[in-house]
């Protein structure tokens, strides 16, 4: 601190700082207690203290121009640090001169002479033109001291003065130091404010304005501005300008290197110009355009990562005067904050753009995801396979419509419910657990009763593997394979039956042909055997024909009709002849219309229809009975009917008997050979003729197949 004091500026006006009240107290004490008169005068006259005891005499003496001169002359004679006693007008004066911070102070200490020299007083009064008796009285009132004592006291008084003035200056310096500190604090807080603002607002314009306003306030500047470099055009433009001419200022652009701002931008060095009028770099153009008068400037560069991106300047100290070098530091600090603000703002802008883009992307992704989720959900929901998924805790996470049906889930959502609540079959539940553990697919078949019918499902259990390659749950897909199973069964049954059906006519053929070869059979027997062989060969041929027709229909080639004019009664008679002796247990009755008609049909195909219908009638009436063939005509149609008294067809089978390979599932029917292709072919042939067939049947009483063919006349 002491050093700082000694370094106090030379410009200190010590007379101004002098603590006059303290000094006057000292003066009063000396005068009152010791009767010593004291007077101090600074050379600039700003300090002029006088003690009343002394002043009576002194005032009287200096009340005239002459007397004043006398006194002044004496003062001028006092040299630096000189001390002397002068006897004047029988008075003892002690005069001393002291200097402080380059300023001269004269100190007078005076007492009355021991022996009043009335002559001298008289001479003095005459010289000064004052009243003698008055002056003498004042003189006489002074206390008498020895010279030696007076000198000691005077020395003490000078020392005291020095102490007072020194203390005054110290006090001032301390005050100034405090003031400086306060300013420093103000600057610091301005900087802190700036950094707080930087962190709290993203509005760059507002931010810079606030920073610059705080700079103005702290630095007591009239105006301030921020320029940024337009690197494309190599120019500076006002980003922010405060002060009275803001709007005009903002229109101006400076060339790089132009003006003080341009210079700072170009060099990247801070600049303090106390008087711009003396600086050749100053660009008057701006002042002219804005009608602002710039006197002094501090301009510092705005640097972001060592690159100058602009400048900050403050103009004109309020109340005249100049900016100090310490203020450059402050502005530089502020500029670096502003640079951070700009960079932050750019970063924010960039970040905001990025964030906005990310947000957009995210929204899109979310949208896509939810669309995808909806799509998957609707796909899963509309699947004809049942889907049931569980998590690791075996709580249901997904179940679709079909699964709800097969597991009879009603009453609200199944999601979240434990698996055993929904899947009652323990073996099935075990599969969910197994695939979770082994992380492998398991397949099985399972039967569910839906409605009143048992359905067979192929079940596939798969683990749900998450992104960490861990099983997050398991999913089961159940496909109804009832129909496939049925078809499969029908296929193998069909092949079996075909084999059987082929072997059946082949058996008498082989037997009789062999008997004819190896045995000596008479003619009668030969005729009988040959007849049987012929019938059975025809039967075999018909069956093979059916099979070929079926494969042609199956291959999509269809059957072609060879239409020819056919007398329908004749045709029926032929069929009847073939069948009339086919069975001993059956009686075949033929009822034909009186008048036959000739229509266009495929003769062989109609024989095939009748053969199939009659074979069925024989086959499915194992107990025998009547089989009636009846035909008739109306205006448009030919009608045919084959009626038996056999097993009949149950109601539930009526709809399917014309389906390919379909055979009624009953113990009785099973024991009767058949391929299940006869009726489908019959229907197909009749439809080719634009005709139709239907069945009327009562279970266990018999069936009647009635068909019609539109009459096409040749």
């Amino acid at each position: 601190m002491a050093e700082e004091i000694s370094q106090a500026p030379a410009s200190i006006d010590s007379s101004k700082l002098f603590n006059i009240r303290v000094w006057e107290g000292i003066q009063y004490k000396f005068a009152k207690d010791l009767g010593i008169a004291i007077k101090v005068m600074s050379e600039d006259g700003k300090i002029n203290t006088v003690e009343s005891n002394f002043s009576d005499f002194y005032n009287i003496l200096t009340s005239t121009e002459e007397g004043k001169k006398l006194c002044e002359i004496n003062h001028e004679n006092i040299d630096r640090e000189a001390r002397f006693i002068t006897l004047y007008a029988d008075c003892v004066y002690y005069c001393a001169t002291t200097y402080f911070y380059g300023k001269k102070f004269n100190i007078f200490v005076g007492v009355k002479e021991r022996v009043p020299n009335e002559l001298l007083v008289k001479e003095l009064s005459e010289k000064a033109g004052v009243d003698y008796s008055e002056l003498l009285a004042a003189y006489k009132s002074q206390t008498v001291f020895s010279d030696e004592r007076l000198i000691n006291i005077a020395d003490l008084i000078v020392d005291l003065f020095n102490i007072v003035i020194e203390l005054s200056v110290q006090e001032y310096i301390t005050h100034m130091a405090n003031k400086e500190k306060e300013e420093e604090i103000a600057k610091m807080s301005a900087l802190m404010d700036a950094s707080i603002i930087i962190n709290s607002t993203r509005n760059l314009d507002l931010l810079l304005k606030i920073i610059m306003q705080s700079a103005e306030k702290v630095m007591q500047a009239e105006a301030s501005s921020v320029f940024l470099i337009d690197s494309e055009r190599n120019e500076l433009f006002f980003e922010v300008a405060t002060g009275p001419k803001e709007a005009e200022v903002k229109k101006i652009r400076l060339k790089m290197g132009e003006g003080i701002a341009g210079w700072v931008a170009y060099t990247g060095e801070s600049l303090l110009v106390s008087d711009v009028s003396k600086d050749p770099r100053f660009a008057r153009r701006v002042d002219e355009q804005t009608q602002f008068i710039t006197r002094s400037v501090i301009c510092v560069p705005l640097k972001v990562r060592n690159q100058t991106i602009g400048v900050v300047q403050v103009l004109n100290k309020i109340g005249g005067g100049s900016f100090s070098k310490t203020e450059i530091k402050f502005l530089e600090a502020l500029a670096s904050q502003a640079a951070i603000a700009i960079e932050n703002a750019n970063l924010y802008e960039h970040l905001e753009e990025r964030a906005e883009q990310l947000n957009k992307d995210l929204k899109n992704a979310n949208l896509n995801l939810s669309i995808e989720k909806l799509r998957i959900e609707s796909i899963v929901q509309s699947m004809e396979d049942a889907v049931l998924a569980v998590n690791r805790e075996k709580k249901i996470v997904m179940v679709n419509r079909i699964a709800e049906r097969i597991f009879s889930i009603d009453g609200g959502r199944a999601e979240g419910r434990p698996l055993e609540d929904v899947v009652k079959i323990a073996d099935l539940r075990d599969n969910f657990t197994t695939v979770l553990a082994v992380k492998n697919i398991t397949k099985t078949e399972v039967k569910f009763t839906m409605g009143n019918k048992e359905h067979i499902f192929a079940a596939v259990f798969a683990p749900i593997i998450d992104e960490k390659n861990e099983a997050a749950g398991s999913v089961a897909v159940f496909r109804d394979i009832t129909e496939i199973k049925e078809l499969d069964k029908m296929k193998s049954e069909f092949l079996n039956m075909v084999s059987h059906e082929l072997r059946t006519p082949l058996t008498p053929i082989q037997a009789y042909s062999e008997l004819m070869m190896v045995r000596n059979v008479d003619n009668e027997k030969v005729k009988k055997y040959a007849d049987i062989i012929n019938r059975e060969t025809q039967r075999l041929g018909a069956l093979i024909g059916d099979l070929l027709d079926l494969s042609r229909i199956d291959a999509g080639k269809g059957l072609s009709l060879a239409l020819e004019p056919v007398d329908m009664n004749e045709l029926m008679q032929t069929v009847y002849e073939t069948f009339k002796n086919a069975s001993a247990r059956h009686k075949i009755i033929l009822t034909l219309p009186e008048k036959s008609e000739i229509i266009l049909v495929d003769k062989n195909k109609i024989i095939q229809v009748m053969t199939n219908l009659l074979s069925n009638a024989l086959k499915y009436s194992p107990e025998g009975g009547e089989i009636t063939i009846k035909t008739w005509f109306d205006d448009k149609m030919f009608y045919g009917s084959v009626k038996d008294q056999g097993l009949g067809i149950a109601e539930e089978d009526l709809g399917r008997i014309f389906d390919k390979f379909y055979r009624v599932e009953s113990e009785k029917v099973k024991k009767i050979g058949g391929t299940g292709i006869g009726l489908p072919i019959v229907k197909y042939i009749l439809e080719l003729h634009n005709g139709n067939i239907r069945v009327i049947s009562e279970f266990n009483k018999g069936s009647e197949f009635v068909f019609n063919i539109p009459k096409v006349k040749p």
Partner: protein, 137 residues
Amino acid sequence: MADLKKKIVVADDEPFILSALQDTLSDSYSVTTASNGAEAIRLAQRVMPDLIILDVMMPEMDGLDACKNLKRDKLTSTIPVILLTAKGQITDIEKGFKSGADAYVVKPFSPARLIEKVEEIFEKVEMRKKIMEDKKK
């Protein structure tokens, strides 16, 4: 003379197969026919034949069921049964033997082979009879 002929009951729902069987066997055996399993059982119980030939696929009662019934019935259990069928798959043959049949002939058959089979069965029966008689002695 007719009395010396061995009696065979044949059953098939196909009339021409039935007649072929009859024509094949009737020279050497006394043949009676039935058109289904139930009828064959009734016939067998009545005539107590030396052999029964059954078609497998027949209405009312098929050959397998008829065979089982015949073998279960003490009266008929010792009568040999030949199953005659157009079903030639191994599973069908297995089913046939399980039902207690003594032989299995697949359709279409050769009359000579059928007669060989029939004679073979009768020989076996004769041998068994002899062994039983020897044991008794």
